[in-house]
């Protein structure tokens, strides 16, 4: 027997000790702590995003407005950059060395991290890409990705359609914080126009697939797949031919055309001049083009004029509204006459305005001075100040029922309400917020310029076109909108199926409609005549202090069962009848008859030849 027998226990205890340590460690790694499970998931799980195809846009006759182009992005992973011949690279991709360095810097900072690929050059066309692709492989750290991009086969309606852009950092963080957390940093979203308003419908629903990947990153086993749902196509109300024609007519001019189908409120064309080719904001040169459109061009083509400027005073056109409200309110009848007293407010020589029709036909200022006075000072209070307050509130409510002074709930982003003044406005805001008239310190005599559409009234071209549609409908409108159908079997938004009635009854519209027909037949807008169609219209002149007045014309046709209502603004186009009326009649004729008459063709040539303003015009 040896004396070291007991040492077996030391050795056995050592072994047990090691096993206990292992057991505790395994318990920790496998059961108690989840870190290693999560790390394992990071290692093995690979999520692949399946991008749905974005919906396309069609015009009202099924013509494609927005299509899809195949483009290529060049990606860079800054960490993997190795031995790049910068000179060669820059000459291949046609960029400067500073630009190259800036882009690399950009790709490694902010939410771009150096070991992740980020976009280096965006949206290369197929032709460009095929030129560089043979050399791409020799530049370590660069890669490419195929993507679809918006394409515009007709190059029109830029403002209507809007454009699509990679989500901005602000929009992304907003979506993450308070939004639906849908977007990824590299997603594309609609930024303006229909692309923005119908973003949700167009984008569809993203799908995803989970894979188990091997050490080399190959997807080996499909764990789960959620299919992507393609975006809906939009069937717009735009008439491509009319839109293109309008854009052509507005070449070398500044202004807007809005044409509406009165019976539905569908916008047939929405033109902002000068316009631009929407393809400019789709391709690789987005940034340069955008800057050019926004800043470098004094005419600022990026602005969507039909809705952007809601401070145009409606001028004489507003007399139509005044007449309708006054008849409804009973302060005049169809046959009420006033003396054309030029001492009250200036006028030109014309036959005595013995009824509403004649007053409208000659656009008699004193006549509507009286009308407005009766609307504002109704004799309900002794004090003219108190009386005017009551009057203006009633008047304001009536005018707003014509879609003026309110924000139309249309599907054009950025619409503005314009302004129809009320008591509060003169109490607290006019002439200035710091020094307003104050309560009971203004009366009709202070605000009478509103009577003829001057003064403090502001409207947008869209609202004017809607006014034409209201008169065409004899008293109601559908909120103007651009989309007829969402998806092939879809419908339009429900709010666009609702009739909005004005506060003027239908019967009061007939004398106004007759007057508008006379305006075109032998009044101030004879330039709008079309032999085969009964056109009703009204000219307006928006006075402009610094330059020529704006030329404005609204019209609808035919007189019975109108098919089109239109507003045309030609900025600095001097007096209303000249350009706006001609352009409106050409639009109407083109839309209703397709082939222009001889007279129409002559008019067309005149309009096309007219250079009212070009991009070199220097004005403030």
């Amino acid at each position: 027997m040896d004396s070291f027998q007991h040492r077996r226990w030391i050795i056995i205890l050592t072994m047990l000790f090691v096993t206990v340590v292992f057991g505790v460690r395994l318990l920790y790694v496998q059961v108690l702590n989840n870190d290693w499970k999560n790390r394992a998931e990071q290692i093995t799980h690979h999520k692949v995003t399946i991008h749905p195809a974005r919906g396309l846009l069609y015009d009202r006759n099924g013509e494609l407005l927005v299509a899809v182009n195949q483009v290529y992005d060049i990606l860079v992973t800054p960490k993997d950059l190795k031995g790049i011949d910068t000179v060669e690279f820059c000459s291949l991709f046609k960029i400067s060395k500073t630009e190259f360095l800036q882009k690399i810097e950009h790709a490694s900072t902010g939410y771009n991290v150096s070991y992740k690929a980020s976009t280096f050059i965006e949206s290369m066309s197929k032709e460009e890409y095929s030129r560089v692709v043979p050399y791409l492989k020799s530049f370590n750290g660069f890669d490419s990705k195929r993507r679809t991009n918006r394409g515009y086969p007709n190059g029109v309606a830029a403002h209507v359609l809007g454009y699509v852009r990679k989500i901005s950092a602000e929009q992304y963080s907003k979506d993450q914080k308070v939004g639906e957390k849908y977007y990824n940093q590299n997603d594309y979203v609609g930024v303006t126009g229909l692309e923005k308003v119908y973003e949700k419908e167009l984008r569809g629903e993203r799908g995803s697939a989970f894979f188990l990947r091997d050490y080399a990153g190959n997807d080996k086993t499909n764990l789960e797949e959620n299919y992507a749902i393609s975006g809906n196509n939009l069937y717009t109300s735009i008439d491509l031919k009319l839109q293109s024609y309008g854009e052509r007519l507005m070449k070398n001019k500044l202004g807007s055309i809005v044409a509406i189908e009165p019976s539905t409120g569908e916008i047939l064309s929405l033109i902002s001049a000068p316009s631009f080719d929407p393809n400019k904001l789709s391709g690789r040169e987005f940034s340069e083009n955008y800057k050019e459109l926004l800043n470098n061009d004094t005419l600022k083509p990026i602005i969507n004029r039909p809705i952007y400027n809601a401070n145009y005073r409606p001028g004489s056109i507003f007399k139509l509204v005044q007449a309708l409200i006054a008849m409804q309110e009973g302060v005049i009848t169809e046959n009420t006459g006033f003396v054309c007293n030029k001492a009250l407010i200036n006028c030109h020589n014309h036959e005595p305005p013995s009824n509403v029709q004649i007053a409208i036909k000659h656009s008699c200022n004193p006549y509507f001075y009286h009308v407005y006075k009766r609307l504002i000072q109704r004799g309900e209070e002794k004090s003219i100040f108190k009386d005017s307050r009551i009057g203006i509130e009633k008047w304001n409510a009536s005018v707003k029922s014509f879609g003026l002074g309110i924000k139309l709930n249309t599907d054009i982003p950025g619409v503005k309400p314009g302004r129809i003044p009320d008591a509060n406005y003169y109490d607290n805001e006019f002439p200035s917020k710091t020094n307003p008239y104050g309560k009971h310190r203004w009366a009709f005599s202070t605000i009478y310029s509103n009577s003829i559409g001057e003064g403090e009234i502001g409207v947008s071209p869209l609202q004017m076109a809607n006014l034409a549609a209201i008169i065409a409908n004899r008293g109601y409108y559908y909120t103007p909108h651009l989309v007829k159908k969402i998806g092939k079997d879809g419908s339009k938004r429900p709010e666009y199926l609702k009739k909005n009635y004005t506060m003027a009854a239908a019967k009061y519209f007939e004398p106004v409609v007759s007057a508008m027909e006379m305006v075109v037949e032998n009044g101030t807008a004879m330039g709008a005549q079309i032999d085969s169609i009964r056109v009703c219209g009204k000219t307006g002149t928006v006075q402009n202090k610094t330059f020529n007045d704006h030329s404005v014309f609204i019209a609808f046709a035919p007189r019975e069962n109108p098919k089109i209502a239109i507003a045309v603004y030609v900025e600095y186009g001097t007096w209303g009848g000249i350009w706006a009326a001609k352009i409106a009649s050409l639009m109407i004729e083109k839309y209703l008859v397709k082939e222009l008459s001889e007279k129409g063709k002559k008019k067309e040539k005149e309009v096309l030849d007219a250079i009212i303003l070009d991009k070199h015009s220097d004005f403030k």
């Binding site: 090691v18 496998q30 059961v31 998931e41 050490y215 086993t221």
Partner: protein, 443 residues
């Protein structure tokens, strides 16, 4: 003859044989799952690792049965011959072409043989034979020197391959020496030296600073300071607590060990700065958890722990692993050194805990067998077997679960590798054979 075979089989230790077979079988199934290929689905496909492993297991069992038929005395008497032959093989293998940068293998047809695996049982046989020779006392310096050379000669050749992992296993003989009467102080001293050394490297690697009344120290210097204080405290402890006539000796021990401890810390610091390469330093940092390294040197460890952790409490199920197998290959060497990952991933904590329990039971059973021998040779050989297997088990699992730096060393009976399975099987069967005749032989 028939009678004799029956006689031997009847006396074989069934628990040890059973545990051995369970481990080998579990190992084979794990290799099958870890390196499964759909091209060769059969477990006996010799084109794949599992087929070869199965073949080696069969060969090992046949050789094992042959060993059982040998006379115990024959085995004992052949000890030096086996040792000599294997050492010669270790020398010759150095002239073989390198595989993965090491001259460790003989290549014969589709099979490779790794003589260092045989060196483990050969050296065990030689040590057992030498120490059991009558008149040999382990306390004598001469004995220690001879044992040292018995270990060092094959160890030297193995280092030349180079195969530092296997060399490390040769340190396990210290347990055998301890059991046979080597002073416990040497073992204890080594133990403390390891603790002090590891802590010194830890402080050095962590580059921690300690603020002390506005003075900022590097933590490893504070640590050194603590050792000095401890030495001084023990000095006073000796002064007051130990009887005067024993004091002088204790003082010397205290002083010497304090000095050695300080020297050790200094040399660790020096080695860390000047001897270690960056990759070594990185390995220490990863091991101490100072750095979580997904790529580079920490890659193996990171992937292995991810695989083990992903097993969770109950595992993903046999053949359902998603990290440590040939299909996904997230864990490197998943059928050799990191085979434990496959097991732990598929069977979870329950499985991995069961496996370490099985191993421990296996080791303890070997010690129990060793202790019941009348023959000193068998006892020493048994301890050699237990120590070598223990070292393999300890280092391999510690490495895989991130408690030790990555050292290439297989998990016995589990890791793919024919020579290893054969070598370990020979050890077990020699032990079984010797044990079966314990009542017949008095030696």
């Amino acid at each position: 003859m028939e009678n004799r075979a029956k006689n031997i089989i009847g006396k074989v230790d069934i628990p040890l044989l059973g545990l051995f077979l369970v481990l080998v079988f579990a190992g084979l199934l794990t290799v099958y799952s870890a390196s499964f290929s759909e091209e060769y689905p059969q477990i006996y496909s010799l084109d794949k690792a599992y087929g070869k492993q199965l073949a080696w297991i069969v060969i090992s069992l046949i050789i094992g049965v042959l060993i059982l038929t040998l006379e115990g005395s024959f085995i004992r008497n052949s000890a030096y011959i086996v040792y000599g032959v294997v050492t010669l093989m270790l020398l010759v293998v150095l002239f073989m072409p390198a595989i993965k940068g090491a001259h460790s293998w003989f290549k014969i047809g589709g099979f490779t043989i790794q003589p260092s695996e045989f060196a483990k049982f050969a050296t065990s046989l030689a040590i057992a034979h030498y120490l059991s020779t009558s008149g040999i006392k382990i306390q004598e310096a001469k004995t220690k020197v001879i044992v040292f050379f018995l270990i060092a000669v094959p160890g030297f050749f193995i280092l030349q391959q180079p195969d530092p992992g296997t060399l490390l296993v040769f340190f396990s003989f210290i347990f055998v020496m301890y059991r046979e009467g080597l002073s416990g102080n040497i073992l204890l001293g080594m133990f403390f030296a390891i603790i002090i050394g590891v802590m010194a490297i830890f402080f050095k690697a962590s580059e921690a600073n300690v603020s002390f009344f506005g003075w900022v120290f590097a933590a490893n210097y504070l640590y050194l300071f603590v050792i000095v204080i401890a030495t001084v405290l023990i000095h006073f402890g000796i002064t007051y607590l130990v009887m005067p006539r024993y004091r002088a000796k204790k003082y010397i021990i205290n002083m010497v060990s304090g000095a050695i401890a300080m020297l050790l810390v200094f040399s660790c610091n020096y080695a860390y700065d000047n001897v270690f390469k960056d990759r070594h330093r990185d390995r220490f940092e990863v091991m101490f958890g100072l750095k979580l390294d997904r790529k580079g040197v920490g890659y193996n460890s990171y992937q292995a722990l991810s695989a083990i952790g992903s097993g969770g409490p109950a595992g993903k199920g046999y053949f359902k692993g998603t990290l440590s197998n040939d299909k996904y290959k997230h864990v490197p060497e998943q059928s050799t050194d990191f085979i434990f990952c496959s097991w732990a991933e598929e069977w979870g904590f329950l499985g991995s805990f069961l496996l370490i329990i099985l191993y421990t039971a296996f080791l303890i059973r070997i010690i129990m067998i060793a202790e019941r021998q009348k023959s000193k040779f068998t006892r020493i050989f048994g301890y050699c077997t237990a120590s070598i297997l223990f070292f393999h088990y300890m280092i391999n699992i510690a490495m895989v679960i991130g408690l030790a730096p990555v050292i290439g060393i297989p998990l016995p009976f589990f890791s793919k590798g024919g020579s290893a399975i054969l070598g370990f099987s020979i050890m077990i069967f020699i032990l079984l054979r010797m044990d079966s005749e314990r009542k017949d032989v008095l030696r």
